[in-house]
Symmetry: none
Subunit: 198 residues, 4 copies
């Protein structure tokens, strides 16, 4: 009770958190293991005690981070609710998570071509697909209830995530350029009824 017992995994977690921050700010190649260690409050050797290499640390940070997000999305949207509400909430939820975890998102969606080793790249793409599949799954609910057109939902989710990525980054880079609600509104409107006047 009175003891300051350290929780198991505490150090590993602080490393992962520091890694997400640094990888996000600097990108994979400019991120220095020194900086991650310093931010995590451990010695550099400790990084290597817990992760075999910079690449593996990167991979772990991305994979575990995405998993957390996917779980949050499903928790917030699992409840039954009218389609219109569900649709808007799906978008709002994704926007909010993106804005919250911009660090992680930047990694997952932008580090695709930075010359990382192939097996690590595969890990990132797997994480990315984990997220896209989650979104596609949510859209599928709408289709099964007859509210959504019969389009390829995987491709649609890819497109949606692309919009999300670009628009949220706009706000993250310059919060005054566009408001959170404005983003949700635009995305909802575009996805609901498109761009043209019939």
């Amino acid at each position: 009770m009175g003891s300051e017992t350290v929780l198991p995994g505490k150090k590993r977690d602080s490393i992962l958190q520091a890694a997400v921050k640094v990888f996000s700010k600097k990108g994979f190649h400019r991120a220095r293991m020194d900086e991650i260690a310093e931010k995590a409050g451990v010695a550099k050797g400790t990084l290597y005690y817990n992760f075999a290499s910079k690449s593996k640390l990167f991979s772990a940070a991305v994979t575990e981070g995405i998993e957390t997000i996917v779980i949050q999305i499903q928790a917030q949207l699992d409840a039954e609710m009218p389609f219109e509400e569900h649709f808007r909430k799906l978008i709002a939820c994704n926007v909010d998570l993106y804005l919250q975890h911009g660090d992680l998102a930047r990694i997952v969606f932008n580090e695709v071509s930075s010359g990382i080793e192939n097996d690590i790249l595969t890990d990132i793409q797997r994480a990315r697909n984990r997220y896209i599949d989650c979104v596609a799954g949510q859209l599928d609910n709408g289709r099964r209830t007859g509210h959504i057109k019969d389009v390829d939902l995987y491709l649609t989710a890819v497109a949606l995530v692309g919009m999300l990525d670009n628009l949220c980054n706009l706000r993250l880079q310059n919060p005054r350029a566009v408001g959170r609600d404005q983003l949700v509104d635009l995305l909802t409107e575009l996805l609901r009824s498109g761009l043209t006047i019939h």
Copy 2:
């Protein structure tokens, strides 16, 4: 005429072409000046004779590449044509250019957070905006003729480019995953009338 005089700028151009290839394949940080020099068929010192630094070379490669693309878009779409046709052609033209210049596109849309120096980053973002403004300008044609809703066209162009980026990359990484026409159809349908059944 009969002389073998090398055109001025010929070396500069071959460097730029090599640079786009290498930067695209390796990303900014993994790209090596050695490799660019070799691919361009010049000595390494020549790179520095023409460009002050790796960053400046990167910046030039991106800026000049984007300019070419913007010019091509405008050339293909300037003619008068019915809205429906123009709308589809706008999307098709962007898809085709993206698939053609995947190298360059990957740089412009993915290298945002790779820890490049700030002034170079600004150059890239300027190039990116140049492209987005071009797309937004095309959409504006539709609005002025009453075919397109009164939404923020800059944000819409950002969203469109996000979809384009994600979907075209899907095809570039795995051509058998999705066809060119399928991409154009999906994008046109989504942007025209959205996702839901009313």
Copy 3:
């Protein structure tokens, strides 16, 4: 008696055995304490509980290993026997021990210049001399009975050990290159009557 008490020194011994194997296979500098600990079936900390440092462990492994060998040589050769037989047996016995303990031998005869700390080097050289003196002592038996020339027996033992080392290593590295008996024959002939025809 009935208790499961572990014999004192049991762990120490398993560490020493593991150390000889690893040091021999990898050489002093490439040998890792981790690997020795694993091979010995103890935790890394236990190495340091029993030996002050890697160098001291190395020193102990070499010294104790050589001692065992010297004792074996003397045991096999102490009996009275005719000179010719004794001479051949001396060589055969050394060849066999070398081939058996190639691991240890490689260390003692090859690790001389690997940049080990000086005091440890001294330990190794002491062990080496212990072995050479043992061989010289055996030769001295032959001289006292008038069968061996009046040459410097220490130097001669050094020379003998050099031949032994090189020839046995040849066999250890490629057993098909030369047979055990061939080695004994060659060494006996060379040492008995030299190389030339008078």
Copy 4:
């Protein structure tokens, strides 16, 4: 004439010379590239500009050094001379070269088991064999003229080199322990007529 033109390969040579010194004093693993660079009077990067890796530098130093020695041996012994003289000179020549190039010799004969990468090890063994074959070739002259017994000359050369190595090292480590002439005399006597009195 008056210009201080630097000979081509001068830097490469000074690196090789420095490498032999440092590798010999410290052994392969304790030798630091920093120290070699400093001793050679070049920057660290220059080592890597000339040699792909520490191992390759090591390999080059050994291979080129041995080649020089083999050439010297053959130059000094090629002349026609009576067998007795040739035999003694062969030994004297080897002793002198060994004592002169003790640095290199230490590497070639002692670095065998230090955990170097296999392909580099192969290079060293090739160099070693180059030397042994050279000695065996010299002995073969004596056999063809009927002065040397019909023994396996490769094995004999291996044995000879083993004696040479051990005895010369004794002198190199402690010059007062044994004189150069004493070494030549002992080796000549042992090899000529062996150890025993018939």
